[in-house]
Structures are given as C-alpha cells and as structure tokens.
C-alpha cells in the first residue's frame, strides 16, 4: 500500500527529537536504505525557499549568510546553476568530509532540491581531490542515484585542488570555468554571473544536508532544536582532546559543553581558536560560557565560522602556534594581489620575531601597521581573515609576547594546529 506523502512529513520514529540529525546515518547507505531511513523529500520545490526562510537556516561554510536570501537572489534570475561546496580547505575542520562519507545522499538530496527550487537543471558537487575516501563516497552515491533516476537534476562530481583558497566562492567558480582555483575580482558575484556565466548558488555541503531535512520535516521541526539560533551544526573539536572529533550539536550549546561532549575540557586551556584560521582566538575563560550562535559569539568578538573549536592544550605556546599558522596562510596566498602576497609574509615574519623575542619592540610596531595596511585590499577575503586571526593572537597572547621578549621562545611542543602541505593551483 503506497504511503500517503504529506508536506511536511513527520520524521520517522527515533528521529523526531534531539540529536543526531545529520549524523544519524550509517556510512555507506545505499539510496534505497537512505530513503527508508529518512523518507522522501515531500516539499514542493517552489515552497522550499519560504520554508528555509522560516527555518532561519544560515550557511555552514564560514560566512553564516542566511540561506533563503542566497537562494532568492539566484531564483530570480535566468538559467541558474548550483554548486555544493565540499572542498573544505580549512585544515582544522573535518566536518564536511565526515558528512560526505556518512551521509552523501543527504547532501545530494539538498543539492537536488535546491536546484529545483531555484530553477537549475544541474549541480556540481565539489570535493578536495586528495580526500580519496570522500571522493569515492560521493561518486558511489551519484552512481546509485543515476540507476534510480535523478529527478531532473544532473549531478556532476568535481574534484578541487588541495589549496586553502580553492573553496573560496570566486575561486571555485573560476575552477569550474576551467581556470586556476584562484579567486577573481568581484563584482560580478557568483549569484549574478558564475559557472558558465550563469547565476550560481554556492552552498556548503552541510547547509545542503540541513536543507534536505527541512524539505522533509519542515521549519517547525528544524526549529525544535537550538535556541536562540535554530537547528544543529557540525563542529570540529581539536587541541584539548586526544584526537580531533566531529560532533553535531544544537545551536545554543555552550562551548564548554561542546568540548565536554567531545571528551575534552577547557579547564587547563588558555585560549580557544573559534571558527577557523580566518577566525579568532578567544580566552577560554570567556569562550567556555559562550553559547554557539550568531549574536552570542559576536558579543565576544568571534563567530561560528566553519565550526572549528580548537582549544590550546596546557604547555603549548599559542604565540608559536599562531606564527606557524600565519606563515602557512601567507604561503596559501594566490599571489595575485600585492598587499596580500607581500603583506602576509611580512606579518608572518614579524610574528616569528615576536616568538623569538622582539627585544627592540620593532616587530610589534610593524605588525600593527601592516595589519591595517593589508586589510580589505585583496580581491578576496583571505588577507582579511589572516588579519583577524593575527589581531586576536596579538591580543590574547599579549602576555606571551612580553614573556618572550624577556626570556626567548618557549620549549618546543608538538604542533597543535595542522599546517598541511598543499598541492598545485591546477
């Protein structure tokens, strides 16, 4: 007997309340199993954007932009296209890879219905080329769907270079258009003119997975968890845990509770890096009680970013970690804009001097000047993110700067924040 398909549907038993949502799936589920677990998407595509607006879903790629607004901007234009951004170049983040391995069909569902909602006939699913198991997982899921029928939206798997900036929106568009994975000058923005010169909706893969559930169970269900911001989010907790762990948490959970759920504690930790390498250090005493959400984090000078929560372990030098990451960020520059490819290495050098001990105080003065000089003067936000990160390090680790000036660098400890080798731009 065919099931009555209503909109919105009640979630299956066991998935009504609480967590997990996105991570409730077994990795390697076939499309058939996926549909049995979650049910089909019953939201009429033309009703989706309003439902997403009611849900208050924000992007999970780092900028936290309201998803419905982004979809509206593209839906009003002719012949749009959709990009699912799973490239995750942020070294301290693993959530997109985990999601793509455990629930690729949720992401593909989200890409499909987003495409239908904005009037696109295809979606490009972008995954970093080095992440072989992730690429395989997505490829298998797409092949599975081809056998079953793709609901009128063609899904194309595209691998991206192993570079921090490859996931930047204009760089991703440039890559899909046959260029290097380097940012381009905007305007025009991707929603105006992007892949193949068409209005392009670019959404992080986690955002699309949330969309896939809203398209089943509706905005009321989505808002039943999380306060004041609705829903759940994937975070990557590292540093003050034995190994990095990806968790799904309700928005509004405190940072301390998230860290505890990951098996760690901020008790002996001086500071937490929030958001990513474009984010900010926050003293643990301030961060611990902060609730994950736009307003609460903004009030302590930070944001969700792409869900990175990296606690500095006791005995690890935050200044040295920051200098190493800054040098890595300088190396990740696309080398296109003078203020960036000159300024970031200069700033990194100044931080290295601060680590060694800035005896004459010149490095401290120069770095402050250079941060202001570089900010806002690149084609993309890479220099801005680096500036934000460095400014927070100079503030939070000010006592270390003074200490190093007197006593030199700390005894070396194993690096905490990953600074992986990168590949080519092509």
């Amino acid at each position: 007997m065919p099931k009555m398909l209503s909109w919105p549907m009640a979630p299956p038993a066991g998935r009504q309340h609480g967590l997990p949502r996105l991570l409730a799936t077994e990795a390697g589920s076939s499309l058939g199993q996926h549909l049995e677990d979650w049910g089909p998407m019953t939201c009429p595509p033309r009703a989706l954007i309003d439902e997403v607006a009611r849900a208050g879903l924000r992007g999970r790629g780092g900028a936290g932009f309201p998803t419905a607004t982004k979809m509206d901007a593209v839906a009003s234009r002719r012949r749009p296209t959709v990009v699912a951004n799973g490239s995750e170049g942020e070294p301290a983040s693993a959530k997109d890879k985990v999601l793509l391995k455990s629930a690729p069909h949720l992401v593909l569902d989200g890409a499909t219905i987003a495409a239908q909602a904005v009037g696109a006939g295809e979606a490009f699913i972008c995954v970093e080329r080095g992440a072989n198991t992730v690429v395989q997982s997505v490829a298998d899921a797409i092949a599975d769907r081809r056998r079953g029928g793709t609901q009128g939206v063609a899904l194309h798997l595209v691998t991206t270079p192993n570079r921090y900036l490859a996931g930047e929106e204009s760089a991703l568009v440039h890559w899909l258009n046959g260029g290097d994975a380097k940012p381009t000058v905007t305007p025009p923005r991707p929603y105006e003119r992007g892949v193949h010169a068409r209005p392009t909706l670019i959404q992080n893969v986690e955002t699309l997975a949330h969309l896939a559930l809203i398209a089943r169970y509706g905005s009321d269900w989505f808002r039943a968890v999380g306060s004041p911001d609705s829903g759940t989010a994937l975070v990557t907790v590292s540093g003050i845990v034995a190994r990095p762990v990806v968790l799904e948490v309700a928005l509004g959970t405190t940072v301390a509770d998230v860290v505890a759920a990951a098996g760690g504690s901020l008790r002996n930790s001086e500071a937490v890096l929030m958001g990513g390498y474009f984010g900010t250090w926050v003293p643990s005493s301030t961060a611990a009680a902060a609730h994950l959400g736009v307003d609460a984090l903004r009030s302590i000078g930070t944001s969700m970013g792409c869900g990175v929560i990296a606690g500095l372990p006791a005995g690890t030098c935050g200044l040295a970690e920051s200098a190493r990451v800054t040098r890595w960020l300088a190396d990740q520059s696309a080398g296109q804009c003078g203020p960036c490819f000159n300024g970031l290495p200069a700033i990194a050098g100044a931080l290295e001097t601060l680590v060694d001990g800035d005896r004459n105080g010149r490095a401290a003065k120069q770095v402050t000047r250079w941060l202001t000089m570089v900010e806002g003067r690149g084609a993309c936000r890479h220099p801005d993110g680096a500036v934000r990160f460095v400014r927070s390090a100079l503030s939070v680790f000010a006592a270390d700067i003074t200490g190093h000036r007197r006593h030199g660098p700390c005894r070396a400890t194993p690096p905490m924040l990953p600074t992986p080798r990168s590949g080519t731009w092509r």
């Binding site: 381009t184 000058v185 305007p187 296109q336 804009c337 003078g338 203020p339 000159n342 300024g343 200069a346 250079w370 000089m373 806002g376 003067r377 690149g378 084609a379 936000r381 801005d384």
Partner: protein
C-alpha cells in the same frame, strides 16, 4: 554623481604612476601598491584622476559610479 576611483587588485602590478599623478588621493603602501581614498573624487581632482586612469600600464584603475566598495 561624482565617481570613486577604484583599483583592480589582481591587475595592479604596483607600477606606482597613479600615486605620482595624484598624490592628493593615492598613497603607496610599503610594497608600492596604491592605497586610494575611498570617497568620491572631488571636482578639482577630476582631470588628474582621469589622467591617472589613462596612465596605468596595467589598466587597473577605474572611475566608477558604484556604491561604496565593500569587500563583502
């Protein structure tokens, strides 16, 4: 409506002719790249601004009607 002077940061190669021609409006940073006053160009500097745009070997300068450039 008066225009703003903008630079394409990718096209710009730091030749610096713009700062020579329009020192009242453009300074060079520590690496020779232009820092341009973000306000609308006043009338008395119009001719000089146009000369700077024309002189840029990289064609990186433009006078634009757009709203204030935000890097958003």
């Amino acid at each position: 409506m008066r225009k703003r002077l903008t630079v394409d940061p990718i096209a710009c190669k730091g030749h610096g002719l713009c700062a020579d021609l329009l020192p009242e409006w453009i300074q060079l940073d520590d690496w020779g790249y232009p820092i341009i006053n973000p306000e609308r160009v006043p009338e008395h500097l119009d001719a000089h601004a146009r000369r700077a745009v024309a002189a840029c070997p990289a064609l990186a300068l433009a006078l634009r009607d757009d709203l204030a450039v935000s890097k958003g």
